[in-house]
Amino acid sequence: MINYHKPKKIGISILRRWTLIFLLGEILFFGLVGTNYISLNNLQDILVASTTVLLLATGETFVIITGGIDLSVGFMVGFSSVICAKVMVNLETAGFSQVAAISIGVLAALLLGLIPGFINGFLVAKLRVPSFIATFGMYGIAYGFAEIICNNIPVHNLPSSLGTLGHGYLFYWLPGKIFSFLNKPGNLTRDELKHLIVIIPNVVVITFIFIAIFAFILAKTKFGQHTYAIGGNINAAERAGVNVKTHLIKVYMISSFFASLAGVMYVLQYITGRAPAGSARLLDAITAVVIGGASLYGGKGTIIGTVIGALIISVLEIGLVNLSIPTYNLYIAVACILIFAVLIDQFSPELIQKEEEI
């Protein structure tokens, strides 16, 4: 039997995956036009450059699926970077080992980073403050506290071994001679160093481990299911016995956890803590989520979509740098993609419908 629907089906699956195709198209374009764009190092640079947006957007995806928005994450990055850096510096000065100082600094940042999320969630879920307002308030508060903690100056003099972790790679490979895991081989000659191939930056590894865990939670677990239900029909969720309030608090805590993690990654990459760190990335993160197929009305979105959305932005960003095009053009390009994404979503709902495991 001839399947007359086949062309239409192919059309639909292309439309469903337009972001992925767009991303690959971008890479191909810059690969052809740019210099050395498609090289191991450049592709890794793209991933490193996108860690902040990737992390913020992953947490934001949960919030947006419930029908809310978390604006606080922009300054939460700085807040957490400052705490992380400050704790490390103070502990090392107090005589702690570098390993202890670094670990405690990271833990402190991640734990304290949960507090703003809890407050956001409490305001939204229990006191019915619109998420836009609650998290916008927290945006300012996080920034203010960050500046207080660091006395208005970036935190410097962090433990020296931080760079080993932050600038390290998962694999080091000297073709034919050395293949090493996590440890940068010592005693290399200048020439050997030049040929050393470094594979997958640590910060990218850490970032993707957390993204994968939460992608799993969203897609496969009851928690994820309830997140979608709340965004789809909060009354139905409540009536079905979902503890909506507690759930929302957890969702905002996930978002602030990812923002704190982004702060920690910032410290690892730049070996400093700054109050405004990452704040410029807030809108990129929200854009990534929306490009990835989430709706600001809630009920829709996936982590994989968000990851593609985030990569579309950073591939473009690095691409423009590669072509020496002033980066303010990025704003125009990203805005156009965003609007395009929303239009596709608006005008092809029934085309893109399919059977889904939600």
Binding site: T221, Y228, R239, A240, V242, K300, Q353, E356, E357
Partner: protein, 251 residues
């Protein structure tokens, strides 16, 4: 046989207005009762007392022979009294079986470690209950937003049946549906009743009610004015009772 639910002398006031005035009635297992009356007669208020939305000022409720107090809709749900709402309480962004299992998801172990959703189980169980109720929905993986109004209602009903509802309350279930769909819902009501589910059905369409209900309860200005066996009355008589041109036994 013992009635599934019996209410005695229920009175519900809104300020100075007596919306339900000293109403008593009972429903037996598998029985379909039509509640008829003009706009504002108190039908919705009466069933909202039963489903825990409102608290009656006076009167008693007996369920399976025991006197009970229903303080909120969740308590009603717990004992098997389910209202099919017009907004249907379904999450439109989720598929059919996810809605049927919403809040009571079936889980399985992933790698022996973490609990994940057991899609296959939920899918096949949902299929079973839909089949049992003669409901035809192309794919249970379709999102609710792609279903028709009647199909949505069928999903909402299947959900309650799967979770052992004994008494369904349907307030104007056919109001928003096309003719073909109305028929399906009425057939579903018959199927449910044959399987022992009791149903209160409120409708303006006297015809609908006549086709499924075995007993009719006519309300006027908050009062129950008459009770009729469907077979032993006519549409004319019922209309007369509704508008007050015929006086019922309780007037």
């Amino acid at each position: 046989m013992e009635p599934l639910l019996e209410v005695k002398n229920i009175t519900k006031k809104f300020g100075g207005l007596t919306a339900v005035d000293n109403v008593s009635m009972q429903i037996f297992p598998g029985e379909v009762i039509g509640i008829l009356g003009d706009n504002g007669a108190g039908k919705s208020t009466l069933i909202k007392v039963i489903s825990g939305v409102y608290h009656a000022e006076a009167g008693q409720i007996f369920y399976e022979g025991r006197r009970i107090k229903i303080s909120n809709p969740t308590e009603a749900l717990k004992i098997g009294i389910e209202t099919i709402y017009q907004d249907l309480a379904l999450a439109e962004n989720m598929n059919v079986y996810s809605n049927i299992f919403l809040g009571r998801e079936k889980l399985k172990k992933f790698l022996g470690l973490v609990d994940v959703l057991d899609h296959d189980y939920m899918h096949s169980e949902s299929k079973k209950v839909l089949n049992r109720l003669d409901i035809n929905i192309p794919s249970l993986k379709n999102k609710i937003s792609t279903l028709s109004g009647g199909e949505r209602q069928a999903v909402a009903i299947s959900r309650s049946i799967y979770w052992n509802a004994k008494l369904l309350i349907m307030d104007e279930p056919t109001a928003a549906l096309g003719v073909a769909e109305q028929k399906k819902v009425l057939n579903l009501v018959k199927t449910l009743s044959s399987q022992g589910v009791s149903i209160f059905i409120i409708s303006h369409q006297i015809h609908d009610v006549f086709s499924v209900a075995t007993r009719l309860l006519i309300m006027r200005r908050g009062k129950k004015v008459a009770e009729r066996i469907t077979k032993k009355t006519s549409a004319d008589e019922v209309v007369g009772l509704i508008v007050g041109s015929i006086l019922g036994e309780y007037n």
